[in-house]
Amino acid sequence: MDVRAQISMVFHLDKCIGCHTCSIACKNIWTDRKGAEYMWWNNVETKPGTGYPTKWEDQDIYKGGWEKQNGSIELKGAGRKKGLLNIFHNPNLPVIDDYYEPFTYRYLDLIESPASDDQPTARPVSLITGKPIDIKMGPNWDDDLSGTPDYARKDPNMQGLSAAEQEAMFQLERMAFFYLPRICNHCLNPACVASCPSGAIYKRGEDGVVLINQQVCRAWRMCVTACPYKKSYYNWHTGKSEKCILCYPRLESGYAPACMHSCVGRIRYLGVILYDADRIEAAASSETESLVDSQLNMLLDPFDPQVIQAAKENGVPDSTIKAAQYSPTYKFVKKWGMALPLHPEFRTLPMLFYVPPLLPVMASLSNQDLEQGEKMDPIAKFWKDDWLYDTSTEGLWGTIDQARFPLKYMANLFSAGDEEKVKLVLKKLMAVRIHRRDVTVGDIPREKVQQALSEAGLDAETAEEVYQLTSLAKFDERFVIPPAHREQAIEMLEFTGDTKGSVGFGFKEKPQRGL
């Protein structure tokens, strides 16, 4: 057992309001530079939609991630053979137009243009060439455009949905969408690291953050292809690739990453998860159906004495083990089993997990709106009794099965197509709501509450815990950041005796006696 610590994230999609505050916080700190204008290390997508860069999930186009080959796995579009053979021209590299051409407006024209009969306008200009352009794309160009033919219908996750299901999803009355905020997943089996010919990309051992050494990167640009989430970006100005650094300077000083700190909906959780590094290869190369399970099996219980012992032997500090025990992400992912990785079929073992949204499933009408209800599509759930929520568990899970959002779609996103996994998580989310309605309103028969909880694999106590962490958790509960122990790290870098007595306030050179 090779126990290592990984800083992992959970995004609770039910709470995301799609405000893009995270993206702006990140942009202002990290990517507001020449060559990086088009990069959004954090971006928020409307689902269903094509995303950013366009159709990034379609690996037939971009050849990202790993694929299974005779029992083991190999990079799909990069790696030793393909990477070095295609080094002069990478056929699978997205170009700037797949993202968007960055632009600004000539605002000064509004003020300084000479008097005339027409209103002055601020023309958009390209941030690459400086010449006027017609804006064709933006990072969130399909924001809220769930039903549109150009975006939602071209969503790669529609695969496996019947034509009728797809059609039903896009009817105006049934149209639903949710937001998918994305950052680098800081994977356990990162394809970007594996694809880098010059070895510039690495995973930090202490916390698992994946970084690109800007001094070693030589613009072989294979990481852009290899990352199936397209979260490694090529800076066309500096000729170096860049990616989300999980705000490690902030993490090391005990602050949450900027995107998480600024999250208005408080959807983001961050904490340490201990995992067994010996099982990475086996987990990444397991069968598609068992990918999620084998990834979750790698994650270790931080309370298990054996795990603690092995972690200590491996040099994981006590403070990190303690942080793992308080980790909100461990609870969501492992303890409650309510969070799933995004596209596990890419086999990179992403360590950013999502609580899938229940919201579109819950949307329904009560019999107060009988007239409206009759106009609805028969598949749409319509409650005929007096309850706002259908309290029979049969009806309850029935709602999930006949969700306005087909389970298959969710499963394509979060569980490599396994509908049962998504269904279980949605049941848990629903059971917690039923439990809370029972606590606060008390209009649901007790046995039905019990039934709902037990069928979802929860008890009242756990449901209460889930509710607390979902709705009421404060900053320190949402972000449990292990100390970076710089005081010990510095001792590895220099012997304190070397500098003892040689520096003081106000001195940059040694305060030595002059000549």
């Binding site: 070095l84 060439t129 400086g130 613009a219 870098l493």
Partner: protein, 246 residues
């Protein structure tokens, strides 16, 4: 007049190679150690991908073949001469090399055309890029010219140029034979020296860091900023030697 040509020959065939080698060696060390952030192949594929294919691929394939061809003639001239003993083999070698030369020319022409016409690529083009492109164009044009007009290059390179180059490396430059070569050949030689000279100051540095170690390194890389196991072990002695990851 003879004195003037002698001086020119001495400068370009004796002085220049030493200047070029000296600047290349010192410059490469300086470039690698001091300006590592600027050390990159500066790919522009992200801004324009399709035209690049018809430029970059033939250019690189051709230049690789020609580079190793020149290198072979420099390292094992006897082997080349032996190979050329048989006329059929000589023709095969010359024709293949000429085809690769044409590939370089075509690729380079595409690359230059792309640099000049694509407004996005123009933004990321420096004056050094134009200098390098012009120099390479000069090299490939003179190279093809020499190969076509003064046959058979592969043989007289091995018997005339290799001894000269060896003499330069042996610090006893002997230019008697080379001075008698046609001026096009000399232009090609001077262009080669200038290219070597400019390597450390241009994007050509990427050829010094060809990522061959990728073939044998493990795919995944984990970097530990400080060896926690060592810190925890009370028996670890203090060392004044700084760890590698400092």
């Amino acid at each position: 007049m003879d004195a003037f040509f002698n001086a020119l020959n001495n400068f370009f065939l004796i002085g220049l190679p030493y200047i070029a080698l000296f600047v290349f060696l010192i410059g490469s060390v300086w470039r690698y150690t001091s300006t590592r952030f600027k050390y990159s192949s500066l790919s522009s594929q992200f801004l324009e991908g399709r035209q690049l294919f018809w430029g970059s691929v033939p250019f690189h394939m051709g230049i690789l073949f020609l580079f190793f061809g020149h290198l072979t003639a420099f390292l094992i001239p006897r082997g080349v001469l032996l190979w050329n003993n048989h006329p059929a083999r000589l023709i095969v070698l010359e024709v293949t090399a000429f085809i690769f030369g044409i590939a370089v020319l075509a690729g380079l022409a595409n690359l230059i055309y792309r640099r000049l016409t694509n407004p996005r690529v123009a933004v990321v083009t420096s004056r050094m890029d134009y200098a390098i492109l012009s120099l390479l164009l000069l090299q490939v044009v003179t190279g093809l010219w020499v190969a076509y007009s003064f046959r058979w290059g592969s043989s007289w390179f091995a018997s005339v140029l290799t001894p000269y180059l060896w003499s330069v490396f042996a610090l006893q430059p002997d230019i008697t034979a080379v001075s008698a070569l046609p001026w096009v050949v000399k232009l090609h030689i001077v262009g080669a020296y200038l290219t070597v000279l400019l390597i450390p100051f241009s994007r050509l540095v990427h050829f010094l860091v060809v990522p061959l170690d990728y073939i044998w390194r493990p795919y995944q890389q984990v970097v530990w900023y400080w060896q926690r196991k060592e810190v925890r072990r009370s028996g670890t002695p203090w060392s004044l030697k700084r760890p590698l990851n400092n």
